[in-house]
Symmetry: none
Subunit: 187 residues, 4 copies
DNA sequence: GATGAATGAGAATTCATTCAT
DNA sequence: GATGAATGAATTCTCATTCAT
């Protein structure tokens, strides 16, 4: 009665979670039925209700994770020159867009709808602030007159890039990366 | 007997349309039920089907309007200097974002979902191309080496701005307008 | 206020009737909507309700006519030899099957469903009796031992033929006509 | 714990099926609503969709059974004299009409409508061919000049008989059986 | 824990019918 | 007579949720 060595609970719950996450992100919340989740997770419909109170609850869990899994301006090296750090952050963001497309898509969705659990939106907003702060500090170090303005400018650019990448209108991320690097004199 | 407070057809259809438009744009298509539309429009459920073949048709109609109401790079004056034209287009776009938030939100929705009515997406894409072409030509006239790249860069920026404005993360459009103007040496 | 020389009422009502008749017979009652009738008759939906209380009422009218329009064993010539009359009746029936296919189909439908207005069924049944009587008398004149039995036998055959013709399994009516004629030594 | 009064799945599905079958056969497909089926089967409306994809699917299932349950010209004994076999087939058909009235009524319905599920109609037609072939062979063995014509003649007769039996206009099947037997000199 | 049969509320849609004009 | 906008009940179907096993 303890809990199997193979920790089935953790496993099953996690499988449900991951499945739901992927489906929510690719099809949307409404368009994802419990049946779909169950089928994709390889469990019965009823079992979901052992781990989550209901569909909404499962969504909340996913949203919380999404907001926590946003890339944070990490990889930061206080010893490195600011240009090096700026380059790292931009790379981090662009790689994130490229490889976590559906997480990013999900968070854009959330912002567009706006209606969802404000606590989730708060987490997302907090993360955005984090990036603004990070860029602002770097631009300060780089002697920009309007460091905050430049930070927002850069983030706006990155958001536009994310949007275009997700909706396939990018002419590719690589050229834009180059453009940004050259704008800020990186590498 | 002049003009009834509730003159028929034109009015009712338009009420349905406007209601649906607003609801689609704020809640999304799937999340908006016919009941919601009917209730908000103050009509019976069945009446919608007098004016539109089905929900999809209503969506299409809305989408068509959305795509037609996209700002096109007009206000173009071949006699005017390219900088003047560039300024006009940027102004046009920014004003659009500010005043047609619903429409812009809707088209962002569509791009994020991607799945819907490919014909509409085509229209939207065509419009995007229009803007790219317009900016590209201006940048050519302005002697930019990579006119096309610059056009895309600018549009990406504007998209990011739109996204942030819609999701309330903008620090306002005005400062960004100034920034863009100064970047391109306008006014 | 009298009634126009072009007797519009009679006309319109008759158009509605004929349209409904054809549609009921080809698509079935449930499958025929008031809208269809109106469109095909070239009138508005509302107008139908001036001439008929409701859809059911229109059906009843059609059914009554159908039952009255059943071919009756007419073309009967008391002077002619019984074989001649037998031939005429068989021809009458077969021609009817061939040319009034959808009336016949309609009456078969009614018999299969059985549930409809018993008064209509009574009319149909009465007509069947008429045929039985007619054939029976002819077979009596032709000295058949079991004239009634033979009459029913022949009618059963004709019904089978009608059924097959309507459902396309006939190998054609012509050969069967020959067969029946030869069976009874006609022509 | 032996066999519950309401053992699940198999039972429920079968109850739905039987209910639908009976209702389809007596009222017709369109005239039978899911609500009717559910009410008559004593289940919720939704449950039907657990076992059948939709109403059409349920119909198909019923039709499949109908077409499979059509009497096939079996009971055939190659050793027996052809007259014996002919007698058996006629008996088989007549017994079928008498005892599987629902099924026969249903297949008549289908033929009259014609529109439905062409695959089912094909099955029914194939079965009809089977009978034609069987009778034809017997008539060949019995030295009929036009064996095929005679086969169709007999089947037409049997179809008429079925029709009349179902719509209650038969004067009973027994006398007709005698008549057919005597026509072919059986027993 | 796990299953899936069963339910019922709600969604989209159709359609006979009414009624103001 | 004639129109067609408007209604509301009914229909098919979906799906989150419950519950007996």
């Amino acid at each position: 009665m303890q809990s199997n060595p193979s920790s089935p609970e953790r496993d099953t719950k996690s499988v449900i979670f991951q499945t739901a996450f992927k489906l929510f992100a690719t099809h949307g919340y409404q368009e994802t039925s419990i049946s779909m989740i169950a089928k994709n997770a390889g469990i019965s419909k009823g079992l979901m209700y052992h781990y989550y109170r209901n569909k909404e609850d499962l969504l909340l869990e996913v949203l919380k994770t999404v907001s926590l899994d946003q890339i944070k301006p990490a990889n930061w090296d206080n010893q490195a020159p600011p240009k090096e750090n700026l380059k790292r952050l931009i790379d981090l963001f662009l790689d994130y867009i490229q490889h976590q497309t559906y997480i990013k898509r999900f968070s854009l969705f959330l912002h567009l709808q706006g209606q969802h659990a404000s606590e989730v939106l708060k987490l997302l907003d907090a993360n955005i602030s984090l990036w603004e702060k990070a860029f602002e500090e770097l631009f300060l170090q780089l002697q920009f007159k309007d460091a905050q303005g430049e930070a927002i400018y850069l983030l706006t650019m990155l958001d536009g890039l994310a949007l275009r990448h997700i909706s396939k209108h990018s002419y590719g991320i690589a050229p834009m990366r180059k453009k940004l690097f050259s704008k800020y004199g990186l590498v």
